[in-house]
């Protein structure tokens, strides 16, 4: 019975996305949001502001910075600048995600594209990469809509639980589901088959943590630029050696 329901849901791209949102990616992401709910509750945010920050920011670094600066009483300009600089990666994720879904040149209105682009997180983007091997490019957009709906709803639940139970949940136990996300996404990244992306993944994974103690969140951007460029160089060398062979 369960297998039949699963097959039925997988036959429709939107519901396949929804189903994916409620499986491992959703569990991992909502666990991280549970941690955010705990953090926001401890910081003294009210539940409305906590939920609104989840929905309108939809970026963990952005949400954590918002809560930290809000509780520190930071001025508006500092809030804007810090969030702006810490979220450059959103540009690359959106650019890559929109190209993957093949909606860059479609007739979909700009506001709709911007609306769905809002939900392109590292988890959402990694799932797009994963299913791009099994779905046609045109099927990725409905898949992503379902995925986003699933992720948003499960993350709302995770944040709410974290917010309400922040004083009774033992942090060591919360850490177990939070661990799902980094491991799951790294595994998804390692599934890349092209040398170009494999080199980028390994370089980015090494450079990011090495630079972090020195330059903080900028390490993510630098690791992206360096990792992507090393991947490009490796690809060029491979092509040249194939031509020479």
């Amino acid at each position: 019975m369960f297998v039949k329901i699963k097959l039925f849901l997988k036959s429709n791209n939107f519901s396949y996305g929804l189903l994916t949102g409620y499986s491992f990616p959703g569990i991992g992401m909502s666990s991280a949001m549970l941690g955010f709910g705990v953090y926001a509750g401890e910081a003294g945010l009210d539940i409305y502001l906590c939920m609104a920050s989840l929905l309108v920011l939809w970026s963990m670094p952005g949400m954590v910075i918002f809560v930290s600066l809000y509780t520190a009483g930071a001025p508006i300009l500092l809030m804007f600048t810090t969030i702006l600089l810490a979220n450059v990666r959103q540009f690359f994720l959106v650019l890559s995600g929109i190209k993957l879904m093949n909606i860059d040149n479609s007739k979909i209105p700009l506001f709709k594209k911007v609306f769905w682009a809002h939900f392109i997180s590292p988890t959402g983007w990694a799932e797009l990469i994963r299913v791009s091997k099994e779905l046609k490019p045109d099927d990725l957009y409905p898949f992503f809509k379902g995925l986003s709906l699933g992720l948003v709803s499960i993350c709302i639940l995770g944040t709410y639980i974290g917010f309400k139970l922040f004083d009774i949940l033992p942090t060591h136990l919360i850490a177990i589901p939070v661990f799902i996300m980094p491991l799951y996404i790294t595994i998804l990244m390692l599934r890349a088959t092209d040398l170009f992306y494999r080199v980028a993944v390994i370089s980015g994974g090494i450079i990011g943590p090495i630079l972090f103690p020195y330059i903080g969140d900028w390490s993510i951007i630098i690791s992206g630029f360096l990792g992507g460029s090393i991947g490009l160089i490796a690809d060029t060398i491979q092509k040249k050696s194939r031509l020479n062979a």
């Binding site: 682009a117 983007w125 177990i176 799902i180 980028a200 994974g205 390490s219």
Partner: protein, 118 residues
């Protein structure tokens, strides 16, 4: 007008949230608008994808090495050991990635429970 709004304390958190949202929106909007200016199979498009791959992996590894929130209450050794075991399991059985994930999480959970209760 803005000054009146800012002086109303109950509105201040919402103004700050709006400002924060604007800081992220800028990048997402630029990503959407510039996406149709780049050819899908060009080297630049590939590079953008590779940057996203590298950034995402860098971010995930940063979470393992320098976590915030609940994960920060655990020890680096536990996180790293479980992570490496999970990745090795995945590399050993690449056609069943879920196996790597389950083995990694089980290892982490075992280490946490062992330290908590033994």
């Amino acid at each position: 007008m803005l000054e009146t709004l800012i002086t109303k304390q109950y509105l201040m958190p919402w103004i700050l949230l709006f400002t924060a949202a604007l800081g992220i929106f800028v990048w997402r909007f630029l990503g959407v608008v510039l996406s149709n200016k780049i050819k899908k199979d060009s080297n630049f498009s590939k590079w953008i994808n590779a940057v996203a791959y590298a950034m995402t992996t860098g971010l995930m590894l940063r979470i393992i090495f320098f976590p915030t929130g609940a994960l920060a209450s655990t020890e680096l050794f536990d996180r790293l050991l479980a992570f490496i075991i999970g990745i090795i399991a995945f590399l050993r059985f690449p056609k069943k990635p879920i196996l790597g994930l389950i083995i990694g999480i089980s290892t982490f959970a075992t280490l946490i429970f062992y330290k908590l209760y033994f």
